[in-house]
Protein backbone atom coordinates (compact mmCIF):
# COMPACT_ATOMS: atom_id res chain seq x y z
CA UNK A 1 0.00 0.00 0.00
CA UNK A 2 1.68 3.19 -1.14
CA UNK A 3 0.56 6.75 -1.82
CA UNK A 4 2.41 9.66 -3.41
CA UNK A 5 0.13 12.61 -2.64
CA UNK A 6 -2.67 13.66 -0.29
CA UNK A 7 -5.41 12.79 -2.78
CA UNK A 8 -4.19 9.19 -2.93
CA UNK A 9 -3.76 9.08 0.84
CA UNK A 10 -7.36 10.23 1.41
CA UNK A 11 -8.59 7.72 -1.17
CA UNK A 12 -6.82 4.91 0.74
CA UNK A 13 -8.36 6.10 4.02
CA UNK A 14 -11.82 6.19 2.47
CA UNK A 15 -11.56 2.85 0.66
CA UNK A 16 -10.26 0.91 3.65
CA UNK A 17 -11.96 2.94 6.37
CA UNK A 18 -8.60 3.66 8.01
CA UNK A 19 -7.15 6.74 9.67
CA UNK A 20 -4.10 8.51 8.17
CA UNK A 21 -1.84 7.02 10.86
CA UNK A 22 -3.11 3.53 10.05
CA UNK A 23 -2.44 3.96 6.33
CA UNK A 24 1.07 5.27 7.12
CA UNK A 25 1.72 2.31 9.41
CA UNK A 26 0.51 -0.13 6.73
CA UNK A 27 2.83 1.55 4.23
CA UNK A 28 5.79 1.23 6.62
CA UNK A 29 5.08 -2.50 6.98
CA UNK A 30 4.45 -3.26 3.30
CA UNK A 31 6.66 -0.84 1.33
CA UNK A 32 9.18 -0.22 4.14
CA UNK A 33 9.22 -3.93 5.13
CA UNK A 34 9.26 -3.11 8.86
CA UNK A 35 7.56 -5.30 11.45
CA UNK A 36 4.94 -3.83 13.77
CA UNK A 37 7.25 -4.61 16.67
CA UNK A 38 10.15 -2.66 15.14
CA UNK A 39 7.86 0.29 14.47
CA UNK A 40 6.57 0.24 18.06
CA UNK A 41 10.08 -0.01 19.51
CA UNK A 42 11.41 2.86 17.41
CA UNK A 43 8.33 4.94 18.21
CA UNK A 44 8.78 4.29 21.94
CA UNK A 45 12.35 5.61 21.70
CA UNK A 46 11.16 8.69 19.77
CA UNK A 47 8.51 9.42 22.41
CA UNK A 48 11.04 8.96 25.21
CA UNK A 49 13.42 11.52 23.63
CA UNK A 50 10.54 13.92 22.90
CA UNK A 51 9.25 13.75 26.49
CA UNK A 52 12.66 14.47 27.95
CA UNK A 53 13.52 17.29 25.54
CA UNK A 54 10.15 19.03 26.04
CA UNK A 55 10.32 18.92 29.85
CA UNK A 56 13.95 18.97 30.98
CA UNK A 57 14.74 22.68 30.27
CA UNK A 58 11.71 23.81 32.28
CA UNK A 59 13.46 22.56 35.42
CA UNK A 60 17.07 22.89 34.23
CA UNK A 61 17.63 25.96 32.09
CA UNK A 62 20.89 26.04 30.17
CA UNK A 63 22.64 28.65 28.00
CA UNK A 64 23.11 27.63 24.36
CA UNK A 65 26.60 27.12 22.91
CA UNK A 66 26.09 30.10 20.59
CA UNK A 67 24.90 32.18 23.55
CA UNK A 68 21.72 33.55 21.91
CA UNK A 69 19.13 31.48 23.76
CA UNK A 70 18.59 29.50 26.97
CA UNK A 71 16.05 29.67 29.81
CA UNK A 72 12.98 30.70 27.76
CA UNK A 73 10.90 27.57 28.52
CA UNK A 74 11.42 28.08 32.24
CA UNK A 75 10.30 31.73 32.03
CA UNK A 76 7.12 30.86 30.10
CA UNK A 77 6.30 28.13 32.58
CA UNK A 78 6.77 30.47 35.56
CA UNK A 79 4.62 33.19 33.99
CA UNK A 80 1.81 30.72 33.24
CA UNK A 81 1.89 29.47 36.83
CA UNK A 82 1.76 32.95 38.38
CA UNK A 83 -0.85 34.65 36.16
CA UNK A 84 -3.62 33.68 33.80
CA UNK A 85 -1.66 33.10 30.57
CA UNK A 86 -2.90 35.00 27.53
CA UNK A 87 -2.67 31.89 25.33
CA UNK A 88 -4.47 29.64 27.81
CA UNK A 89 -2.84 26.78 29.68
CA UNK A 90 -2.61 24.21 26.88
CA UNK A 91 -1.06 26.50 24.28
CA UNK A 92 1.22 28.06 26.92
CA UNK A 93 2.54 24.60 27.70
CA UNK A 94 2.93 23.74 24.03
CA UNK A 95 4.93 26.93 23.41
CA UNK A 96 7.17 26.27 26.43
CA UNK A 97 7.72 22.66 25.27
CA UNK A 98 8.55 23.68 21.69
CA UNK A 99 11.05 26.28 22.89
CA UNK A 100 12.48 23.76 25.36
CA UNK A 101 13.33 21.35 22.56
CA UNK A 102 15.20 24.10 20.69
CA UNK A 103 17.12 24.86 23.90
CA UNK A 104 18.09 21.18 24.21
CA UNK A 105 19.14 21.22 20.55
CA UNK A 106 21.25 24.36 20.98
CA UNK A 107 23.03 22.93 24.04
CA UNK A 108 24.11 19.77 22.20
CA UNK A 109 21.41 17.64 23.79
CA UNK A 110 19.44 14.79 22.24
CA UNK A 111 16.43 15.64 20.05
CA UNK A 112 14.36 14.04 17.31
CA UNK A 113 14.55 15.98 14.04
CA UNK A 114 10.89 16.38 13.04
CA UNK A 115 11.31 16.92 10.17
CA UNK A 116 14.53 18.92 10.83
CA UNK A 117 16.60 19.96 13.86
CA UNK A 118 15.67 23.64 13.38
CA UNK A 119 11.95 22.81 13.52
CA UNK A 120 12.24 19.98 16.06
CA UNK A 121 10.11 21.67 18.75
CA UNK A 122 6.80 22.03 16.90
CA UNK A 123 5.58 18.42 16.63
CA UNK A 124 6.55 17.23 20.15
CA UNK A 125 5.51 20.56 21.75
CA UNK A 126 2.06 20.50 20.17
CA UNK A 127 1.30 16.79 20.46
CA UNK A 128 2.56 16.27 24.02
CA UNK A 129 0.68 19.35 25.29
CA UNK A 130 -2.51 18.00 23.66
CA UNK A 131 -1.89 14.55 25.11
CA UNK A 132 -1.56 16.03 28.62
CA UNK A 133 -4.54 18.41 28.30
CA UNK A 134 -6.91 15.72 27.00
CA UNK A 135 -5.37 12.91 29.09
CA UNK A 136 -4.68 10.74 26.06
CA UNK A 137 -2.75 7.45 26.16
CA UNK A 138 0.74 6.79 24.76
CA UNK A 139 -0.99 4.78 22.02
CA UNK A 140 -2.98 7.87 21.03
CA UNK A 141 0.17 10.02 21.05
CA UNK A 142 1.85 7.41 18.85
CA UNK A 143 -1.12 7.59 16.44
CA UNK A 144 -0.71 11.35 16.30
CA UNK A 145 3.01 11.08 15.54
CA UNK A 146 2.40 8.48 12.84
CA UNK A 147 -0.13 10.87 11.30
CA UNK A 148 2.40 13.74 11.32
CA UNK A 149 4.93 11.52 9.57
CA UNK A 150 2.48 10.97 6.67
CA UNK A 151 2.15 14.74 6.16
CA UNK A 152 5.92 15.20 6.52
CA UNK A 153 6.59 12.43 4.02
CA UNK A 154 4.36 14.13 1.43
CA UNK A 155 6.15 17.44 1.95
CA UNK A 156 9.59 15.82 1.71
CA UNK A 157 8.55 13.97 -1.41
CA UNK A 158 6.61 16.67 -3.27
CA UNK A 159 8.01 19.93 -1.85
CA UNK A 160 10.92 20.51 0.53
CA UNK A 161 11.63 20.59 4.28
CA UNK A 162 15.00 22.31 3.88
CA UNK A 163 15.50 25.92 4.99
CA UNK A 164 18.44 26.29 2.62
CA UNK A 165 16.26 25.21 -0.27
CA UNK A 166 12.87 26.79 0.53
CA UNK A 167 13.10 28.97 3.65
CA UNK A 168 11.61 28.58 7.14
CA UNK A 169 8.16 27.96 5.65
CA UNK A 170 9.62 24.60 4.52
CA UNK A 171 10.96 23.78 8.00
CA UNK A 172 8.66 25.31 10.63
CA UNK A 173 5.81 25.62 8.07
CA UNK A 174 6.03 21.89 7.33
CA UNK A 175 6.37 20.97 11.01
CA UNK A 176 3.32 23.13 11.77
CA UNK A 177 1.27 21.41 9.03
CA UNK A 178 2.35 18.03 10.37
CA UNK A 179 1.39 18.94 13.95
CA UNK A 180 -1.96 20.44 12.89
CA UNK A 181 -2.91 17.21 11.15
CA UNK A 182 -1.65 15.07 14.05
CA UNK A 183 -3.73 17.01 16.59
CA UNK A 184 -6.89 16.61 14.47
CA UNK A 185 -6.48 12.82 14.39
CA UNK A 186 -5.72 12.69 18.13
CA UNK A 187 -8.93 14.62 18.83
CA UNK A 188 -11.11 12.42 16.63
CA UNK A 189 -11.25 14.41 13.38
CA UNK A 190 -11.59 12.76 9.97
CA UNK A 191 -8.68 12.23 7.53
CA UNK A 192 -10.20 15.00 5.39
CA UNK A 193 -10.12 17.40 8.36
CA UNK A 194 -6.47 16.45 9.00
CA UNK A 195 -5.47 17.50 5.48
CA UNK A 196 -7.61 20.66 5.79
CA UNK A 197 -5.69 21.58 8.94
CA UNK A 198 -2.34 20.83 7.27
CA UNK A 199 -3.26 22.87 4.22
CA UNK A 200 -4.31 25.83 6.37
CA UNK A 201 -1.15 25.65 8.48
CA UNK A 202 1.04 25.72 5.37
CA UNK A 203 -0.92 28.61 3.94
CA UNK A 204 -0.60 30.67 7.14
CA UNK A 205 3.20 30.52 7.15
CA UNK A 206 3.69 30.81 3.40
CA UNK A 207 6.71 32.92 2.55
CA UNK A 208 8.40 32.68 5.94
CA UNK A 209 12.14 33.23 5.44
CA UNK A 210 15.11 31.39 6.96
CA UNK A 211 17.40 34.00 8.56
CA UNK A 212 19.38 32.45 11.43
CA UNK A 213 21.42 35.03 13.36
CA UNK A 214 25.13 34.25 13.00
CA UNK A 215 24.13 31.12 11.07
CA UNK A 216 23.20 29.33 14.30
CA UNK A 217 20.12 27.20 15.00
CA UNK A 218 19.06 29.45 17.90
CA UNK A 219 17.28 32.72 17.08
CA UNK A 220 14.89 33.41 15.44
CA UNK A 221 14.47 29.61 15.10
CA UNK A 222 13.29 29.11 18.68
CA UNK A 223 10.58 31.79 18.46
CA UNK A 224 9.47 30.39 15.10
CA UNK A 225 8.92 27.02 16.75
CA UNK A 226 6.56 28.71 19.22
CA UNK A 227 4.68 30.25 16.28
CA UNK A 228 4.63 26.88 14.52
CA UNK A 229 2.86 25.40 17.55
CA UNK A 230 0.37 28.28 17.81
CA UNK A 231 -0.40 28.02 14.12
CA UNK A 232 -0.89 24.25 14.42
CA UNK A 233 -3.35 24.74 17.31
CA UNK A 234 -5.33 27.38 15.42
CA UNK A 235 -5.42 25.39 12.18
CA UNK A 236 -6.45 22.20 14.00
CA UNK A 237 -9.26 23.97 15.83
CA UNK A 238 -10.52 25.60 12.62
CA UNK A 239 -10.50 22.26 10.77
CA UNK A 240 -12.22 20.45 13.64
CA UNK A 241 -14.89 23.19 13.67
CA UNK A 242 -15.56 22.50 10.03
CA UNK A 243 -13.85 25.60 8.64
CA UNK A 244 -12.37 24.82 5.24
CA UNK A 245 -9.32 26.12 3.38
CA UNK A 246 -10.17 26.55 -0.31
CA UNK A 247 -6.86 25.13 -1.62
CA UNK A 248 -6.29 21.35 -1.35
CA UNK A 249 -3.11 20.12 0.39
CA UNK A 250 -1.31 18.90 -2.73
CA UNK A 251 -1.66 22.29 -4.41
CA UNK A 252 -0.66 24.04 -1.19
CA UNK A 253 2.51 21.92 -0.96
CA UNK A 254 3.37 22.76 -4.57
CA UNK A 255 2.73 26.45 -3.87
CA UNK A 256 4.95 26.38 -0.78
CA UNK A 257 7.77 24.82 -2.79
CA UNK A 258 7.38 27.34 -5.59
CA UNK A 259 7.40 30.28 -3.17
CA UNK A 260 10.47 28.78 -1.48
CA UNK A 261 12.39 28.48 -4.72
CA UNK A 262 11.63 32.10 -5.54
CA UNK A 263 12.97 33.39 -2.20
CA UNK A 264 16.23 35.27 -2.68
CA UNK A 265 19.46 33.53 -1.69
CA UNK A 266 19.90 35.93 1.29
CA UNK A 267 16.73 34.55 2.88
CA UNK A 268 17.52 30.85 2.61
CA UNK A 269 19.73 29.94 5.60
CA UNK A 270 22.72 31.99 4.45
CA UNK A 271 22.59 34.27 7.52
CA UNK A 272 22.75 37.31 5.24
CA UNK A 273 19.19 38.69 5.33
CA UNK A 274 16.23 39.16 7.68
CA UNK A 275 17.13 39.00 11.38
CA UNK A 276 20.68 37.95 10.53
CA UNK A 277 21.21 40.92 8.22
CA UNK A 278 20.22 43.62 10.74
CA UNK A 279 23.01 45.76 12.27
CA UNK A 280 22.51 44.00 15.61
CA UNK A 281 22.31 40.56 13.95
CA UNK A 282 25.63 41.24 12.22
CA UNK A 283 27.39 42.04 15.49
CA UNK A 284 26.73 38.45 16.65
CA UNK A 285 28.33 37.24 13.42
CA UNK A 286 31.50 39.20 14.11
CA UNK A 287 31.81 37.68 17.58
CA UNK A 288 32.09 34.18 16.09
Amino acid sequence: MDFTNAAELLEQCEKQQLSISEVMEEREMTVGEASRQTINERMARVIQIMEKSTHHPIEHAQKSIGGLIGGEAKLIDLYAKERAPICGMTLSKAIAYAMAVLEVNATMGLIVAAPTAGSSGVVPGALIAIQEAYQLSQEELQRGLMNTSAVGYLLMRNASVSGAEAGCQAEVGSASAMAASGIVEMLGGTPGMCMQAASMALSNLLGLVCDPIAGLVEAPCQGRNAIGVSNAFTSAQLALSGVRHPIPFDEMAAAMYKVGRSLPFELRETAMGGNAGTPTGCTFCLQK
Partner: protein, 222 residues
Protein backbone atom coordinates in the same frame (compact mmCIF):
# COMPACT_ATOMS: atom_id res chain seq x y z
CA UNK B 1 12.77 7.49 -5.85
CA UNK B 2 14.30 6.67 -2.47
CA UNK B 3 11.82 5.37 0.13
CA UNK B 4 10.86 7.94 2.78
CA UNK B 5 9.51 6.16 5.85
CA UNK B 6 8.09 7.20 9.23
CA UNK B 7 11.52 7.56 10.84
CA UNK B 8 13.02 9.49 7.94
CA UNK B 9 10.42 12.16 8.79
CA UNK B 10 10.31 11.76 12.60
CA UNK B 11 14.07 11.38 12.83
CA UNK B 12 16.97 11.03 12.97
CA UNK B 13 17.40 10.97 16.74
CA UNK B 14 20.40 13.26 17.00
CA UNK B 15 22.56 15.50 19.15
CA UNK B 16 21.91 19.10 18.10
CA UNK B 17 22.11 21.74 16.97
CA UNK B 18 22.54 21.09 13.26
CA UNK B 19 22.08 18.06 11.04
CA UNK B 20 24.82 19.22 8.65
CA UNK B 21 27.27 20.83 11.11
CA UNK B 22 26.81 18.44 14.04
CA UNK B 23 25.22 15.09 13.06
CA UNK B 24 27.05 15.05 9.70
CA UNK B 25 30.35 15.82 11.43
CA UNK B 26 29.85 12.89 13.84
CA UNK B 27 29.03 10.56 10.92
CA UNK B 28 32.06 11.46 8.81
CA UNK B 29 34.43 11.07 11.75
CA UNK B 30 32.86 7.75 12.72
CA UNK B 31 33.40 6.56 9.14
CA UNK B 32 37.06 7.66 9.30
CA UNK B 33 37.44 5.67 12.55
CA UNK B 34 35.87 2.53 11.04
CA UNK B 35 38.08 2.83 7.94
CA UNK B 36 41.18 3.15 10.12
CA UNK B 37 40.36 -0.06 12.02
CA UNK B 38 43.26 0.39 14.46
CA UNK B 39 43.90 1.96 17.83
CA UNK B 40 44.00 5.75 17.48
CA UNK B 41 46.76 7.71 19.22
CA UNK B 42 46.34 11.07 17.55
CA UNK B 43 43.82 12.83 15.34
CA UNK B 44 44.25 16.08 13.42
CA UNK B 45 41.23 17.80 11.90
CA UNK B 46 41.36 20.54 9.28
CA UNK B 47 38.11 22.47 8.90
CA UNK B 48 37.21 24.27 5.68
CA UNK B 49 34.45 26.59 4.43
CA UNK B 50 31.36 26.92 6.58
CA UNK B 51 32.80 24.36 9.02
CA UNK B 52 35.79 26.68 9.53
CA UNK B 53 33.60 29.75 10.06
CA UNK B 54 30.84 28.44 12.33
CA UNK B 55 32.24 25.31 14.00
CA UNK B 56 32.13 26.68 17.57
CA UNK B 57 28.44 27.65 17.62
CA UNK B 58 27.47 24.31 16.06
CA UNK B 59 29.75 22.16 18.23
CA UNK B 60 31.34 20.76 15.05
CA UNK B 61 34.64 20.25 16.91
CA UNK B 62 33.03 18.16 19.66
CA UNK B 63 31.01 16.27 17.05
CA UNK B 64 34.11 15.36 15.00
CA UNK B 65 36.05 14.26 18.06
CA UNK B 66 32.99 12.32 19.31
CA UNK B 67 32.85 10.39 16.04
CA UNK B 68 36.55 9.51 16.34
CA UNK B 69 35.83 8.26 19.89
CA UNK B 70 33.24 5.91 18.33
CA UNK B 71 30.08 7.77 19.33
CA UNK B 72 27.00 7.59 17.10
CA UNK B 73 25.00 10.72 16.16
CA UNK B 74 22.54 10.19 19.08
CA UNK B 75 25.16 9.65 21.80
CA UNK B 76 24.82 12.19 24.63
CA UNK B 77 28.53 11.85 25.45
CA UNK B 78 29.36 13.97 22.36
CA UNK B 79 28.98 17.14 24.43
CA UNK B 80 31.84 15.90 26.65
CA UNK B 81 34.08 14.70 23.81
CA UNK B 82 37.05 16.85 24.91
CA UNK B 83 37.35 15.56 28.51
CA UNK B 84 36.58 11.99 27.34
CA UNK B 85 39.40 12.15 24.75
CA UNK B 86 41.76 13.24 27.55
CA UNK B 87 40.73 10.28 29.71
CA UNK B 88 41.30 7.96 26.70
CA UNK B 89 44.77 9.54 26.16
CA UNK B 90 43.80 10.49 22.64
CA UNK B 91 45.66 13.52 21.32
CA UNK B 92 43.72 15.88 19.10
CA UNK B 93 44.36 19.03 17.14
CA UNK B 94 42.08 21.35 15.15
CA UNK B 95 43.37 23.41 12.24
CA UNK B 96 41.16 26.09 10.75
CA UNK B 97 41.66 26.82 7.06
CA UNK B 98 39.50 29.70 5.87
CA UNK B 99 41.50 30.26 2.65
CA UNK B 100 41.47 27.00 0.71
CA UNK B 101 38.41 26.64 -1.52
CA UNK B 102 36.89 23.18 -1.26
CA UNK B 103 34.26 21.73 -3.55
CA UNK B 104 31.64 21.59 -0.78
CA UNK B 105 31.28 24.26 1.96
CA UNK B 106 31.09 21.72 4.81
CA UNK B 107 34.37 19.89 4.43
CA UNK B 108 36.90 18.44 6.89
CA UNK B 109 40.17 16.51 6.57
CA UNK B 110 40.75 13.90 9.25
CA UNK B 111 44.26 12.49 9.76
CA UNK B 112 44.51 9.50 12.11
CA UNK B 113 47.68 8.06 13.63
CA UNK B 114 48.11 4.73 15.42
CA UNK B 115 50.60 4.13 18.30
CA UNK B 116 52.92 2.30 15.87
CA UNK B 117 52.97 5.23 13.46
CA UNK B 118 50.45 4.16 10.80
CA UNK B 119 48.83 7.27 9.30
CA UNK B 120 45.69 7.60 7.21
CA UNK B 121 44.07 10.74 5.90
CA UNK B 122 40.41 11.03 4.91
CA UNK B 123 38.40 13.95 3.54
CA UNK B 124 34.68 14.10 4.33
CA UNK B 125 31.83 16.33 3.16
CA UNK B 126 28.60 16.92 5.06
CA UNK B 127 26.08 17.28 2.27
CA UNK B 128 22.91 18.13 4.23
CA UNK B 129 20.30 16.44 6.44
CA UNK B 130 23.08 14.59 8.26
CA UNK B 131 24.19 12.78 5.12
CA UNK B 132 27.91 12.58 4.36
CA UNK B 133 30.36 11.54 1.67
CA UNK B 134 33.99 10.45 1.94
CA UNK B 135 35.70 12.07 -1.06
CA UNK B 136 39.39 11.45 -0.48
CA UNK B 137 41.61 8.76 1.06
CA UNK B 138 45.34 9.56 1.31
CA UNK B 139 45.15 12.17 -1.47
CA UNK B 140 43.28 9.88 -3.89
CA UNK B 141 39.82 11.09 -4.83
CA UNK B 142 37.09 8.55 -4.06
CA UNK B 143 33.37 8.71 -3.35
CA UNK B 144 31.13 6.73 -1.02
CA UNK B 145 28.55 7.45 1.70
CA UNK B 146 28.81 4.64 4.25
CA UNK B 147 25.03 4.11 3.97
CA UNK B 148 25.69 0.62 2.57
CA UNK B 149 28.08 -2.07 3.76
CA UNK B 150 31.29 -0.86 2.13
CA UNK B 151 34.51 -2.63 1.24
CA UNK B 152 37.48 -0.43 0.37
CA UNK B 153 40.45 -2.21 -1.20
CA UNK B 154 43.79 -0.44 -1.52
CA UNK B 155 45.69 -2.05 -4.34
CA UNK B 156 48.36 -1.63 -6.98
CA UNK B 157 46.70 -0.81 -10.31
CA UNK B 158 47.50 -4.11 -12.12
CA UNK B 159 45.41 -6.27 -14.50
CA UNK B 160 43.24 -8.91 -12.85
CA UNK B 161 42.76 -7.24 -9.45
CA UNK B 162 39.15 -6.25 -10.01
CA UNK B 163 38.36 -9.76 -11.30
CA UNK B 164 39.97 -11.18 -8.15
CA UNK B 165 37.86 -8.91 -5.91
CA UNK B 166 34.58 -9.76 -7.63
CA UNK B 167 35.46 -13.48 -7.62
CA UNK B 168 36.05 -13.41 -3.85
CA UNK B 169 32.71 -11.65 -3.32
CA UNK B 170 30.84 -14.02 -5.59
CA UNK B 171 32.37 -17.05 -3.77
CA UNK B 172 30.69 -15.77 -0.60
CA UNK B 173 27.41 -14.90 -2.33
CA UNK B 174 27.73 -11.16 -1.76
CA UNK B 175 25.46 -9.14 -4.02
CA UNK B 176 27.21 -5.98 -5.25
CA UNK B 177 25.01 -2.86 -5.27
CA UNK B 178 27.70 -0.45 -6.56
CA UNK B 179 31.35 -0.86 -7.49
CA UNK B 180 33.84 1.77 -8.55
CA UNK B 181 37.57 2.06 -9.14
CA UNK B 182 39.60 5.17 -8.27
CA UNK B 183 43.28 5.63 -9.06
CA UNK B 184 46.09 8.16 -9.05
CA UNK B 185 48.01 7.06 -12.12
CA UNK B 186 48.31 3.98 -14.26
CA UNK B 187 50.20 1.30 -12.33
CA UNK B 188 50.15 3.30 -9.07
CA UNK B 189 47.94 3.00 -5.96
CA UNK B 190 44.25 2.55 -6.60
CA UNK B 191 41.12 1.99 -4.52
CA UNK B 192 38.25 -0.30 -5.37
CA UNK B 193 35.08 0.52 -3.50
CA UNK B 194 32.31 -2.05 -3.30
CA UNK B 195 28.93 -1.29 -1.73
CA UNK B 196 26.44 -3.98 -0.81
CA UNK B 197 22.92 -4.00 0.65
CA UNK B 198 23.79 -6.85 3.00
CA UNK B 199 26.49 -7.40 5.57
CA UNK B 200 29.77 -8.42 3.92
CA UNK B 201 31.22 -11.51 5.68
CA UNK B 202 34.67 -10.88 7.16
CA UNK B 203 35.91 -14.16 5.67
CA UNK B 204 35.90 -12.40 2.29
CA UNK B 205 38.87 -10.36 3.46
CA UNK B 206 41.18 -13.34 4.09
CA UNK B 207 40.70 -14.66 0.59
CA UNK B 208 41.05 -11.22 -0.96
CA UNK B 209 44.31 -10.49 0.88
CA UNK B 210 45.98 -13.52 -0.78
CA UNK B 211 46.58 -11.49 -3.93
CA UNK B 212 49.96 -9.73 -3.62
CA UNK B 213 48.66 -6.54 -5.24
CA UNK B 214 46.04 -6.08 -2.50
CA UNK B 215 47.62 -4.00 0.26
CA UNK B 216 44.91 -3.02 2.65
CA UNK B 217 41.22 -3.75 3.06
CA UNK B 218 38.79 -1.63 5.04
CA UNK B 219 35.33 -2.89 5.87
CA UNK B 220 32.42 -0.76 7.05
CA UNK B 221 29.30 -2.70 8.02
CA UNK B 222 25.88 -1.10 8.20
Amino acid sequence: MEYIGIFDVIGPNMIGPSSSHTAGAVSMALLARKMFGREIKKVTFTLYGSFARTFKGHGTDKALLGGILGFATDDERIRDAFPIAKICHMEYEFLIDQKTQTEHPNTADIVLESPDGYVQSVRGESIGGGKVKIVRINQIEVEFTGEYSTLIVKQTDKPGIVAHITQCLSNQDVNIAFMRLFREDKGATAYTIVESDEKIPESVLDEMKRNQNVHEIMLIQV
